[in-house]
Symmetry: C2
Subunit: 427 residues, 2 copies
């Protein structure tokens, strides 16, 4: 993808004439290109990262992030929990901890997993620096260059640079009602955020700990800023992951871990998840209404039963990467679908976040994107002379009805319909 303006200083620094740097030679990529490892040569700036930079500007309504709404967490609660950690445990919070994590944080983790029907012992768990690190460690531990990873289509965009950096050969499979056979990583950040329908059993619980590596995180049910996730896996695999973790960053922040402990000890975490779920359900519904009002009838979208995103699909002649450049001029952002595929698919899709944006911004953001899409549709109709371009699936498929993330029909109201990026559960 191309984004014209990249405010990230050290990415664009080489071309910014106003930046006086004593070390002029350092700017020349060619001088250093030969030094990089092969895995680095294939790594390139992800669409997500560039986007994060653009959307940091205050005038932009960003539907691009995957941000939970941390403003729902009371500041005074945070301060008083931290005070408790400080008074009781300052020296431990400030000290190194064991690579596998503090035992006190494994109890909260076990509680979260139990709430989703999984039973684990502390020895089954490795505490990580966010869920992202689990993806990295699993690839580091299991993937040789050229190995095949089977992922869902679309997948989690943040997994794409990991797969690329380990030089994996990624095959993305579209899902049907029965899903696909799975003995790989199960990424479940949103399991507790379910808006309707019955909770689904996790693959981990179905598997019985034989082959599934489970990834959990506090990012979406408590805070991503503390950077605490976890993994559970068969013990020989967990032991290798632990070795990789030690080499990667020694341990995850004891400060953050003790905050989790204190939070679970002093507060009702399930009540907070229920509150969050209520906020996000309302925002999902607001976005669905706005989509029905502002998006042209050629567009389709999902009605997610959980998670933080709606996936929308434009007519094939619309490239959402180009569309994003136009949308940014209107100060609104989304993630172009291509970021969730490694094979060039997803060119007409977009990912829209409803959790991290206020109600009014959701309406206004969708209105602006709808306007940009309508312009493109109009332009196409003028150029081709077609009043209704051939995108048959779109006909009569508007406004909160069935839509598709991966180019197939799904019934979103069926309890087992879910979009599983990677194997990311949305509900």
């Amino acid at each position: 993808m191309t984004i014209d303006e990249t405010p990230r200083g050290h990415a664009s620094g080489g071309e910014t004439p106003g930046m006086a740097k004593p070390r002029s030679g350092a700017r020349d990529l060619e001088r250093y290109a030969g030094l990089f490892a092969r895995r680095t040569q294939v790594m390139k700036s992800s669409a997500m990262r560039d986007l994060m930079a653009v959307t940091a500007r205050p005038e932009v309504i960003s539907l691009a992030g995957g941000l939970p709404d941390t403003s729902t967490f009371p500041a005074e609660d945070f301060a008083s929990l931290m005070t408790r950690v400080g008074v009781d445990d300052a020296a431990r919070a400030l000290q190194y901890g064991p690579t596998e994590g503090l035992n006190e944080v494994k109890d909260p983790i076990a509680q979260v997993m139990a709430a989703e029907g999984m039973e684990v012992e502390p020895e089954d768990l490795l505490v990580t620096t966010g869920g992202q690190q689990v993806i990295d460690l699993v690839c580091k531990t299991l993937i040789d260059p050229g190995d095949v990873i089977i992922a869902e289509a679309p997948t989690y965009p943040g997994a794409v640079p990991v797969f690329v950096s380990y030089q994996a050969d990624v095959v993305q499979i579209e899902m049907d009602q029965d899903g696909m056979r799975i003995d790989v990583l199960e990424d479940n950040p949103y399991g507790m955020l379910r808006y309707e329908g019955e909770p689904l059993p996790t693959l981990f619980s179905l598997d019985g700990g034989e082959f599934v590596i489970y990834l959990g995180t506090f990012s979406k049910i408590l805070s991503p800023g503390i950077r605490i996730g976890w993994t559970s896996a068969p013990r020989p695999v967990l032991d290798k992951l632990n070795l990789g973790k030690g080499a990667a960053d020694l341990c995850s922040s004891p400060l953050s871990q003790l905050f989790v402990r204190q939070y679970f000890a002093d507060r009702d975490w399930l009540a907070y998840v229920r509150e969050l779920t209520g906020v996000y359900r309302r925002r999902r519904d607001i976005m669905l209404e706005a989509l029905a009002e502002h998006f042209p009838r050629e567009a389709t979208w999902t009605r997610p039963q959980g998670g933080l995103f709606i996936w929308a699909r434009m007519p094939d002649y619309i490239d959402t990467t180009d569309l994003l450049a136009r949308a940014l001029r209107e100060h609104v952002a989304f993630v172009p679908g291509r970021a969730a595929y490694l094979d060039g698919r997803g060119g007409s899709e977009m990912r829209l976040n409803f959790s991290g944006v206020g109600d009014d911004d959701i309406r206004e953001g969708i209105r602006r994107i709808g306007e940009v899409i309508r312009e493109q549709v109009g332009l196409y109709e003028t150029l081709t002379g077609k009043a209704r371009p051939g995108h048959s699936r779109a006909a009569g498929d508007r406004g909160g009805q069935a839509a598709q993330a991966g180019a197939r029909q799904r019934d979103p109201d069926a309890p087992d319909a879910r979009v599983l990026p990677l194997h990311r559960r949305t509900g």
Copy 2:
């Protein structure tokens, strides 16, 4: 190394009959061995990690860790700083941050680097999850399997599993007075902790940002528990490191970063470093005295001008890995020298930490280790009939005088004499 007792549950879980686990099949390493990547197959549990587990037992005096003394940081200070972060910035502390780090933490970093004579702009910096992550990212970015890494002998034991996991061919060079030619990673956790002699210019400042990648960390001057380090490098390299960082864990904890900001805003960090330096200088001197009193004349050791460690060398016939097993029976631990070498050297050396242990425990720990060494020396003399075995360098080289980490003579009082594991500056 061999340690009989490993309390880490998920490492030894497979052999612990008392642990009832529903997933019995998960214990069998052979079932999973074929699944691991080549880089994982060469990874093995490091001496350091096994040690950490053993030394966690309260009855053990551990001179093995690299722990700063976090109890010197007032608990009420920690609590009040965290309260400020909570009141002013709870939502941001709990939210995702940019991969490259919050700008507010780059100012404190620039202050620390300026105190060591280095000038950097925010764009030159990447905030990381501790200094360990920099080593991992640099290897990930620059090292293909079979590439040669030139490291000092001895090197930082925590770097060893990283080098191994990236399948590097490590050549360890002994240092002389002039050091060695360097255009690689400079690891400088201890630069600010200098007990005597003139501060040395950093390689980074001498190089001018052309080839040196600089690694800094708050672990030793503020807290390792917050897991905040940083790197500065030529921008094309920094950009690649940033990509690797995003894939590894998205971002370092904004909670921790805001704590650093608040600490630098509200407190006199240099005064705290001076206080720490005073505590550690006293403990170094206590350890030097204890070594002179309790270690046999066949042993030699360094008199470090900075850092957290004394390196001691036994007669060649003593294997410090075996010695550790005996020392643990006396409830005292150290790091056997072999952990800092990748080529089997260091078998008669040991690393002794004086920063994380109280004054009395330093004396008692050294007394116990000295006793175990004397036993071994006596055993050797009985077996060989020699009263004074042939270790010429040891003669007359006792008690706080010149000693050697890497099997050569050095003058420790010369201002440029330093032990640089990796290129780790100790003063």
